[in-house]
Subunit: 328 residues, 4 copies
């Protein structure tokens, strides 16, 4: 199956190519980038030298010769391609925020008008697998909401308050240099940012509601001196206390058939480079601490996008994603 | 004034010596270490070469020739020296946990019997300056409770729940090699530990109570890939909502005369090597996020101990501590 | 093909298991560890949870049921197993130093008696592929000599002096906690060690000689704050000057058929987790700077061991090793 | 004494202010920055909040009210201020490259015309203290040449070849975001850059010549994942072999009266934040390895500039610089 990646010069584009090298049925045949047009992909993603010989092209959906597309462009850019891809019948996973929320909430959260809205399944397979199966366009979740929602899901209905305290690696700040991702501002350091106003909170609330929860959700992210990974500490306040055993059973029951969710003491190093979400949980009565660890570029972006593709296309869900995290 | 440091081979001992080099009235004349006895202090604290020529000696309180002592030994070891120091009339700051809590709570928290209990002021000057002034023995607070309590203090009385989500640098794990402080387990990584059961929680609860708060306090620490520093994100749930302006005013009023508390966007880099505690606060109505940053070895240990010494001895409170953080 | 890993609880053991998960013909069925006997492999190598269900066993060569073995034990331990493995006809790659050098040089370099000496090919495929093909026991090179020798090989005959200035990640210091690999001693830091006396120098000299070089070889390693990787800067002093073009041609000619050697500006990030050795070269007349980057646990250990296995067994040389480095 | 810092918004400007806070005779009363004009210095150098209340001004040499000036602007900018400062009789240390080299070598090295050339002492006090004493304008050395020259100086006359293999922290790349100092390009990584062509080599050669050496000098820098510090490994090839004892004596003799040079096993952590240069040396016969460690922003820039000021003004040479490095 021929794959096109629209917007392939960033970190998620690079990881899509890296991961698809291991896929048994898919091959990246088109990688677009306006700024890098004509250059070999491996001149930008130098880790991939000799593993791919394709060159960046200008995005041209009309003449796109591909069976499946990944949109790895920023929000508002994705909506410019989405309609055309739909029309042409090219199945698509969109890694941007453009189709994750209802039109209203999207527009108020991102402060822009949505010029090409339609409904798309929210591509968190552990919650929405059935609707993803039949879809030809899936909205890949944000990196923070992926780890946060998986951490809290088994308890969401029982909680009155959920506080997500997340810590993210620097690759989440993108591939362009800025004060935010400058080494001297990040290394041997830690900061909180968007303490109460990060846009990913809208997705967390949407998914909590989907899970039947009426809990108040809060979210504070922090910028860590690591390259990859998001660790989310979910402080979950329950209406009624639960014992450690009861809590563990809820998590085991919910995730026992989920290959990519592993119930063990989570650490960023333990999932580095992989599509796993490791989750642990500890009860303090009415307050539960649930911690999840993901690689923000894999389970938080490109790996989950491939997982969605596999489900959409009827492939083995783990195809291309069944390899070990790199530790240390 | 001649200073003795009992237990001077660890990180806090090293930083006490480093900081006291800048003090106008104090000089370290005795540094004890059983394991390093006879060696020059600068052969262990190699950063201090040519800045001090004293040698480690065996601790011998009976013959100690010093005007002031710092106990920088582990908990349970401090109580072995404390009584003798008191008897000899040597003013002392104890950096261990042995005198921070009531006897009951100490014994249940640390699971040991206290064999030499007496009451001592809790050496957080921003809360207890007046009783420190007259004291000849002060219990220096734990690193986590220092940052956590300062972050929440202005709101403690108004809260029903306070969740401290703290992130600490590796020097907090001490100077002896272990799996916990091994580079390959920490670098490019993040983990939570003692998710609901860290012993410092007892101090946080004690101080919240002192502040007139009846809030439930919770605490989850994380181990960061940084050398120094603790960033504490206090998620404070209020009974009644407060606006951003109201919250800011509460913090300004409480800290306007505190040299070592600076109200600005906190980061570990911004306080590195210094005695400052930087605090920021943001309102989301009934949930307030207050974030504090300290250097765990300075404001979280040795610097605060010197601040206490200054108060106990009637020196300028900032003597030896009025220098800039090292950034980047 | 059933694979046994003797000494599987360390970093190289972990990476052998991780890498062999991707191999089309090999499966790890035995992993030994005296200290971890009976525990699931994934309880030690937690990154591999749900990817392998084998348990550590005690090493028992006599009853070993395997087609191929990797010795991932320290030097002097390997020689205790090597003879028995040979007798039993189990093809083996030894990752220790025990069979890399002649008996004389081994004994003088390592200061121990070799109690089970025999000759074995030096498993650097780019130099010794032909003899590896027919071998049933191969000595896998040291991590430093791999990167150093590949960096200098095309110029070795033309040089009178080669100075290898290497910088290694912390995983090279092994899996047990020590002052050397303690976070606070390594992070935000850099040190040189064994400035003139590192034992790997003996391998570098042996390989230079094999290449027909009479150059004096020197070696100084440094400990970097990174998890994985060795960057070697080879300062090569020539008898006669060479232009940039001439030098580049020598490298292109030597490595044009080597999949795992890529001629591009090397960085540790660009090879992380992979079996690639990236090499760059720049001429300053009679002084040439050649720089190589490898992942010390992969091309410097476990990946190269699998590459050797592939050659010994007639498999595709890149089987299990044809995947992209993880960047960033 | 009133101090003006021309170009005070960068890292060296920030460290000048930080360090001068500890000086007994100097006070920064003017800090210029075109881009930050009008803002409090501590709004840019947030580590200095509450330690200084001055604001950035536009540079205006004509009306400058200061007793001493530091030029902390880029090369070519410094020459625009230097003449006027001289005319006005304001003693000055220039941290740029503009007055470090002869006019010819400067112009060929930097590829620009020098529009205001005059001779100035090269401000490496350990080599040029006497001429600095009487000077009213001193050229502060580059960061790399400082560490490199101090490492090799005692052996320079005896060497035929010196290869400086240097490893620098990221603050050397300046305060503006770029691909070079982007976290994801540097962290858990290592690269060499300007392998044979770095401009600082001209200073190294000039100083070797000053020391009476006819050795060929070479230089290759590397970019390290650390904030501060330069470790230089000098591979020194001698005409005649020297024993370890002979070499050590040469270093002891040369540096026995130099407070800021400490002969001990060097590490970046051991000098962090301080003006020390730690040097170690090991003999391998005709090849000597000498390693130096400095903080690139202190001994490699701002600290050395203050050391020069102290000498020029007849102050105690260590005034403001006699404090301990921050470790860990």
């Amino acid at each position: 199956m021929d794959i096109a990646i629209i917007g392939a010069s960033g970190f998620t584009g690079g990881d899509l190519i890296r991961l698809l090298l291991l896929h048994s049925k898919a091959e990246v045949t088109c990688a677009t980038s306006r700024s890098e047009e004509g250059k070999p992909v491996s001149s930008v993603h130098r880790n991939l030298k000799d593993l791919t010989d394709i060159k960046f092209t200008n995005p041209d959906i009309e003449n796109l010769d591909a069976d499946f597309a990944f949109l790895a462009v920023p929000h508002t850019a994705a909506m410019k391609y989405a309609g055309q891809l739909k029309e042409r019948g090219i199945k698509t996973v969109d890694l941007s925020a453009d189709y994750r929320l209802s039109k209203d909430i999207y527009e108020s959260t991102y402060g822009v008008e949505h010029t090409c809205y339609f409904e798309a399944p929210y591509g968190l397979p552990e919650l929405h697998r059935e609707v993803i199966k039949g879809a030809d366009f899936v909205a890949n979740p944000g990196c923070f909401p992926t780890g946060a929602t998986l951490a809290a899901a088994p308890l969401a209905k029982l909680a009155h308050t959920i506080i997500y305290d997340s810590k993210t690696g620097v690759s989440g700040a993108g591939v362009n240099p800025s004060k935010t991702n400058q080494y001297t501002n990040v290394a041997d350091n830690l900061t909180a940012y968007k303490w109460t106003s990060h846009r990913h909170l809208a997705e967390m609330r949407q998914e909590a509601k989907f899970l039947g929860s009426s809990a108040k959700c809060h979210f504070t992210p922090h910028l860590l001196p690591v390259n990859r990974g998001i660790l989310t500490t979910a402080h979950i306040l329950l209406n009624e206390p639960l014992t450690q055993e009861e809590v563990e059973k809820l998590y085991q029951d919910r995730y026992k058939n989920e290959f990519f969710v592993r119930l063990q003491n989570p650490s960023l190093g333990g999932v580095r480079g992989s599509n796993f979400c490791d989750i642990g949980v500890e009860s303090e009565g009415t307050r539960i601490v649930a911690v999840s660890a993901i690689d923000n570029l894999v389970k938080g972006a490109s790996g989950q996008a491939i997982q969605n593709m596999n489900i959409m296309c009827g492939f083995e869900e783990t195809d291309g994603l069944r390899f070990g995290p790199v530790f240390p």
